[in-house]
């Protein structure tokens, strides 16, 4: 029997950085490898994306967007993750990663076309190495694995990261992708944003087990960390990425956080969760905690802080203005334009008929 018993032998550079409960150790924090400018930039980005999140919510309420899903409370994961990766590393997001997209330099007004009902995929994924937002839960996870397998085949050093929610871990695609990644030692990082809720379903009804502990069942390591600590997220993703770059294969990071807002603007959380839970998590707010840490070290002065607030305001303002100024593209292009690379004649005719019928009306 012994010969067939297999356990995870690959070394784990992430685990030593964290306490058993998933807190970044003081030593690891002190050796984070970011200069004051870099440390401030993490703060700046968290403030910016939170302000934009709020602005998008306002826009939805004012009828400018069909839908909005806040990431309020999950900013540390969005910012820490992108900062830890190299710009060539592709990210395969779910639908709540607006903040990550911004950190990749995508114009927030452009992304909002998605929520304004103007486009299923408004930005250039190849330019930003950021795959389209994916509505079908977990469907992007095997894509990331295939992409990472491809990177290996091309002997490229880039790694791939895919992120998803706690609910996504219940889907068959999550499992099939994890297992295939393990078999092919694909350079891919699985980042679970465990925000405790899948719409109205709490974590305890989503799974009776531990998500992070599942990794060993696929032959690679996993860890549960504090997802509201931007430096912890940065350190974990950085270490997991370096490991994957070295060719040591996949890693699963379960970042514990909390969905402070509604699932989306169509949702009413008062029907299923208690205010108290929310309050206990406000105390762990990723921005507040990090601000205090920076201030405690004298890395963030009032002037800088005020400047960041001003920048956030103008970013939100700019987004609002640009969004309002967007004129929808022509219907023919929007409906037929990107379906085929080599459109069949019948399809071209259908488009022409459609377009002439519009001129007609």
């Amino acid at each position: 029997m012994a010969e067939v018993v297999r356990t995870v032998e690959t070394e784990d550079p992430v685990r030593p950085l964290f306490s058993p409960t998933g807190e970044l150790t003081p030593e690891a924090r002190s050796r984070i490898g970011l200069d004051p400018e870099g440390l401030r930039d993490l703060y700046r980005k968290m403030v910016l994306i939170r302000r934009v999140d709020q602005e998008a919510l306002n826009l939805q309420r004012q009828g400018e967007l069909g839908l909005w899903g806040q990431y309020l409370g999950q900013e540390a994961i969005h910012v820490g993750t992108v900062a830890a990766l190299e710009s060539e590393d592709w990210i395969f997001p779910s639908y709540r990663e607006f903040g990550m997209a911004m950190c990749r330099g995508i114009d927030p007004a452009e992304i909002l076309k998605f929520f304004r009902g103007l486009s299923h995929g408004p930005y250039d994924s190849r330019k930003h190495h950021f795959a389209p937002l994916t509505i079908v839960v977990a469907a992007q996870i095997p894509h990331a694995v295939g992409f990472a397998m491809g990177s290996r085949l091309k002997h490229s050093r880039d790694v791939t990261l895919t992120t998803f929610g706690d609910g996504a871990t219940s889907k068959g695609d999550w499992h099939e992708a994890m297992n295939v990644a393990g078999v092919f030692k694909a350079p891919v990082i699985f980042l679970c944003q465990n925000n405790h809720w899948a719409i109205s379903v709490p974590l305890a009804k989503q799974t009776a087990g531990s998500i992070a502990e599942r990794a060993q069942g696929y032959g690679f390591p996993g860890i549960r960390i504090d997802g509201n600590d931007v430096l912890g997220v940065f350190a974990a993703v950085r270490a997991a990425a370096e490991r994957a770059r070295r060719g040591d294969g996949p890693y699963l990071i379960e970042a514990m956080t909390y969905r402070m807002g509604a699932h989306t603007t169509s949702d009413d959380p008062t029907r299923y969760r208690l205010q108290a839970e929310l309050e206990s998590w406000s105390a762990k707010d990723p921005i507040g905690r990090y601000r205090e840490w920076l201030q405690g070290r004298g890395i963030l002065d009032e002037a800088t802080r005020a400047a960041v607030e001003r920048e956030a305001e103008s970013t939100a303002e700019g987004m609002r203005t640009r969004l309002r100024s967007i004129t929808p593209g022509p219907a023919g292009e929007a409906i037929f334009g990107r379906v085929y690379g080599n459109p069949p004649d019948s399809f071209v005719e259908e488009r022409e008929e459609f377009e002439s019928s519009l001129e007609g009306s």
């Binding site: 069909g66 839908l67 639908y95 998605f114 929520f115 304004r116 009902g117 103007l118 486009s119 299923h120 509505i135 079908v136 839960v137 609910g167 996504a168 219940s170 889907k171 068959g172 695609d173 899948a198 719409i199 109205s200 379903v201 009804k205 989503q206 799974t207 169509s266 949702d267 009413d268 029907r271 299923y272 929808p328 219907a331 929007a334 409906i335 037929f336 379906v339 019948s346 399809f347 259908e350 459609f354 519009l358 009306s361």
Partner: protein, 322 residues
């Protein structure tokens, strides 16, 4: 009883089923405390308890898979798939298991799979699909799509009572249609209805397109054109006698559904009319449907979907034909 919305009618029908038969179970994503994203199951968990109305993990294939096991155990599962676009990951369990299990084992599968379907709600991708043709082609399944609150109530009763699996498509854009419903009125599976009498052209619709067809008929009247509107109600089995009966009067037909026309269910209807009704036809049977492209961003859905004008155009062509 005052008028109720279709959403309420389905809720009442589920209550009735849960009350009448203790083996009826309602489950799916967010159907419990939340009452479903459309509130169709509102209050059911409170009324019938967590054993009979429960949330599942986010796993469509398992939702249908456990329904098969529960049916084998003697229950009548009524699982919900939250949106049309998320039924695809349960496709294997539905097509290879639910549809074929009785043929394999002789054991009935009294499963009713509720699916809000169709567009016109301004949603993001995957929330406006019309996948009915994937299921009408699957032997062993029955497929239903009500158009009115009353029919939704009654057809759901028939679906749950039926020993065979039923895919119950709810036209989500019509959840807020209101009418008085008669809880004792029975509507069997497989029976269409003439939603409006007419003499010129038969417009065949189901689910969300029935009200558009009726609008078209009203508009047509002003142009002295008379449209008869047939609401199929059941897609499989398909009530051809009622369809042909109408053709005997009009000799012309236009079929309307939201799904893309190519390979859509309209093709089956048209093919049958053109075969069984060959000698009745004075004009080609035409189809008005979604474009042969994926469902577009919300801003463009009205142009993608069938509307009154496109129905009237085809009716004009049919009347002017030959």
């Amino acid at each position: 009883m005052e008028p109720v919305t279709m959403a309420k009618a389905i809720n009442l029908s589920l209550r009735e089923a849960l009350t009448r038969d203790e083996n009826v179970l309602v489950f799916g994503e967010d159907v419990g405390a939340l009452g479903g994203v459309f509130r169709i199951t509102d209050g059911l968990q409170k009324a019938f308890g967590e054993d009979r109305v429960f949330d599942t993990p986010l796993a469509e294939s398992a939702i249908i898979g456990i329904a098969v096991g529960l049916a084998l155990r003697g229950f009548k599962p009524v699982p919900e798939i939250q949106f049309d676009g998320f039924i695809y990951s349960a496709f294997d369990q539905i097509v290879s298991m639910v549809a074929k299990y009785r043929n394999r084992s002789g054991i009935s599968m009294p499963i009713t799979i509720r699916v809000p379907f169709g567009g016109h709600i301004g949603a993001v991708e995957h929330h406006s699909e019309s996948p009915e043709a994937y299921f009408t082609h699957t032997a062993g399944l029955k497929v239903v799509a009500p158009a009115t609150p009353g029919d939704a109530y009654a057809l759901l009763q028939s679906a749950i009572a039926d020993p065979d699996p039923v895919i119950f498509f709810e036209p989500k854009a019509r959840y807020y249609l209101k009418e008085e419903i008669d809880p004792v009125r029975q509507v069997p599976l497989g029976k269409a209805r003439v939603a409006r009498e007419g003499s010129g052209v038969t417009v065949i619709a189901y689910g969300p397109t029935v009200s558009i067809a009726l609008e078209a008929a009203t508009a047509a009247e002003k142009e002295n054109m008379s449209l008869e509107v047939i609401d199929l109600r059941s897609l499989s089995p398909l009530d051809m006698p009622t369809v042909l009966e109408s053709l005997r009067k009009t000799h012309r037909a236009v079929i309307v559904h939201e799904a893309p026309v190519f390979g859509g269910f309209g093709g089956e209807i048209a093919a049958r009319i053109a075969d069984d009704g060959f000698d009745l036809l004075a004009a080609p049977v035409t189809r008005v449907g979604g474009m042969d492209a994926p469902y577009p961003p919300a801003r463009y859905e009205k142009l993608y979907l069938p509307d009154v004008d496109r129905i009237l155009e085809e009716a004009d062509v049919a009347l002017a034909y030959g």
